[in-house]
Symmetry: C2
Subunit: 341 residues, 2 copies
Amino acid sequence: MKFKLNYSLFCVLIFTCMAVYGQKKYVMVIHGGAGTILKKNMTPEKEAAYIADLTKALQSGYEVIKSGKTSMDAVEAAIHVMEDSPLFNAGKGAVFTHDGRNEMDAAVMDGKTLSAGSVAGVTVIRNPISAARAVMEKSEHVMMVGPGAEAFAKQAKLEIVDPSYFYTKERWDGLQKAIQEDSVKTVLDHGNKKSMKLGTINKDYKFGTVGAVALDKSGNLAAGTSTGGMTNKRYGRVGDAPIIGAGTYANNATAGISCTGWGEFYIRNVVAHDISAMMEYKKMSVADASKAVLAKVGKMGGDGGLIAMDKEGHVAMPFNTEGMYRGTVTADGKIEVLIYK
Amino acid sequence: MKFKLNYSLFCVLIFTCMAVYGQKKYVMVIHGGAGTILKKNMTPEKEAAYIADLTKALQSGYEVIKSGKTSMDAVEAAIHVMEDSPLFNAGKGAVFTHDGRNEMDAAVMDGKTLSAGSVAGVTVIRNPISAARAVMEKSEHVMMVGPGAEAFAKQAKLEIVDPSYFYTKERWDGLQKAIQEDSVKTVLDHGNKKSMKLGTINKDYKFGTVGAVALDKSGNLAAGTSTGGMTNKRYGRVGDAPIIGAGTYANNATAGISCTGWGEFYIRNVVAHDISAMMEYKKMSVADASKAVLAKVGKMGGDGGLIAMDKEGHVAMPFNTEGMYRGTVTADGKIEVLIYK
C-alpha cells in the first residue's frame, strides 16, 4: 500500500515535470485583425502575403528582444511592420472614413510602470503606434486626439506624411462598397428602430486592427494596438484600440493584452482590464480569463478576438469570428503564424 | 442550552434588523470636483453659492427619481444644473485650453444594459452630458470626438451654442495665470528631465469635473461625468472623464462610479472599472473597493476623488485632496452637501 502511494506520487511528479518542461515560453504574440476570414475566399497569393508580413513582424519583434532591448521596443518594431504593410487596417492600408479620410488610433502600455500613451483620429502620422509611445514618454498626458495629437507628433519629431500616403485602392473600393451597402441597408431597414440610429453599423464591415504583446529578458510586459478604425465611420467615432483598459492594457502583475473586433462592445466590457482583473482578483489563468471575457463580449452580440500573454510567457489568442490573423514567437525563436479557426 | 442558543440567534437577528434599518439608503450622489479647496481661502458668499448649486443639482435628480423616471434621467438632470452653473469646470464655467478655447468631455453609462456613450473635445454643445447620452441612445457608437461629435449632436437636435457662451471671466483669468506660471515653471525646471516633456503639468492646476450616480425605483444604476478638462491644456489632451472604465462606469452587478482628479492617473489605473472588478471578483464593499483603488492612484502620485454607489444604495465618496464638492440625497429626500475634509 505504501509503495503504491509513492508510485502514484512519483507518476504525478513525472507528469508535472513533463508538462512544465513541455510548455513553451513565448516572448511575443501578435494579431492582424479578426473577422470573416475564410479559406475559401482567400487566394494562395494573398494568404502567402499575409503569412509573410506576419512572419516579418514577429521576426522584427524577436530580434529586438533577443538583443536585450525592451518589450516596448519589440511591440513598436512588430507593429511598424504591420502599419507599413498595406494588408492590415493600420497605418498604410487603413480603411477610409465616410468622408474619404484615413483617421487612425493607437495605444501602448508598459506593464512595469503602468505608463500608457494613446492617440485618436490622427491623419498625417506615418506610424501612429510611435505617436502613442511618444505621448507616453515625451508628455505627461496619456491620450491626445485629432489635430492636437498631430501637432504634438510634429514637435516630437515623428515622421509626418501627406494623407495620400495612406491611400490604397483596395480600401478605397471598400469604402465605395460600404457606402452603397449602407444606403441599401437603410432603405431595407426602414421603420426598424435600430436603423433609425445615426451611424448605423453594418455588421459585415471589417474592424481590422493590429496589435502586439511582448515579454523581454527583464521580465517586463508591453502591449500595443494600432488601427484605421471602421470603414465608412462617421462623427469622429473612436473604437476600443486607443482606450486604455478596453483595447489595450499591460500590467506585469497579470498580462499584456491587445484586442481586435467590434470596438463598441470592447469598450462597454472594458475587455483588456477585465482580463487583468480576473487574473489578479480571481487568480484565473491568462487563457481562462481571456476566454471568459470574450464570452461576455459574444453574449452581448459583439465579435472579435484578442491576444494576451502573462509574465510567464503563456499565451492566449481566443476569437469568436471565422478567423484572426495571428502569430507567436518563442524564446528560442520559433515562429508560428495562423489565420483560420 | 437550547434556549441559550435561540436567545443568541434572536439577538443576532435583532441587531441585524437594527443595522439594516439604521443604514441610510441613498438614491443619488454627486461631485463637483476635487482639489485644493480650503476653508480659509473661501469667502462665505462663494461657499454659499457652491452649496446652493450642489443642493439644486441634488434636488433636480431627486425629483426625477421620485417621479419614477430612470437613474439616467436623474444623472442627466443633476449634471445639467452643474454644467449650467459657472462655478464648476463643466459646460458654462469650463476652463480654457492653451489656445483660449473651451473643449469639453463627457460620458454616461447605464448599469442595467452596460450601454455607454461619450464625447471628447466638443466646443459648441451646451450640455455635453446630453451629447454623451445621445451617442449612447441614438447611435451604435460609444465614443465620438471633436467636430464629428458636434455634427452628430446637431443631427440629434441638441442645443448648440456659440463658443462664447462658455466664457467666464474667472476661467479666462485662470488661463492667463496658468500660462504665466507654466512659463516660469519651465524656466525654473530648466535641465530637469521631467520639464523637458511637452505638455508639462503644473500640479497646482485644477482638474475640476462634475459627476453623478443615481439609483432609481427599478433598482437600476447610472453614472455620468462632465468636464472642461485641464486649464491651459494642449495637444488635444483627453482626460479620464470620457473614458468608459477610467472616469465613468456603471454596472448593476456592482456599482455606478464617477471620478474627478488628475485624469492621467485615473486612466492608467482604469479606476472606475477596477472598483467594480474588486467588488465583483473579491466581494469587497463599495467603500472598501473605492478606498483601495484611490490608494493605488495616490501611491502612483495622482490625486483626486470619486463617488460610487452600489445597488443597495450604499455610497462612497473618498478623496485624497484638501476637499471635494460633493453631496448625497436619501430615498426620503434628505440632502447633505459637503466641501472640506
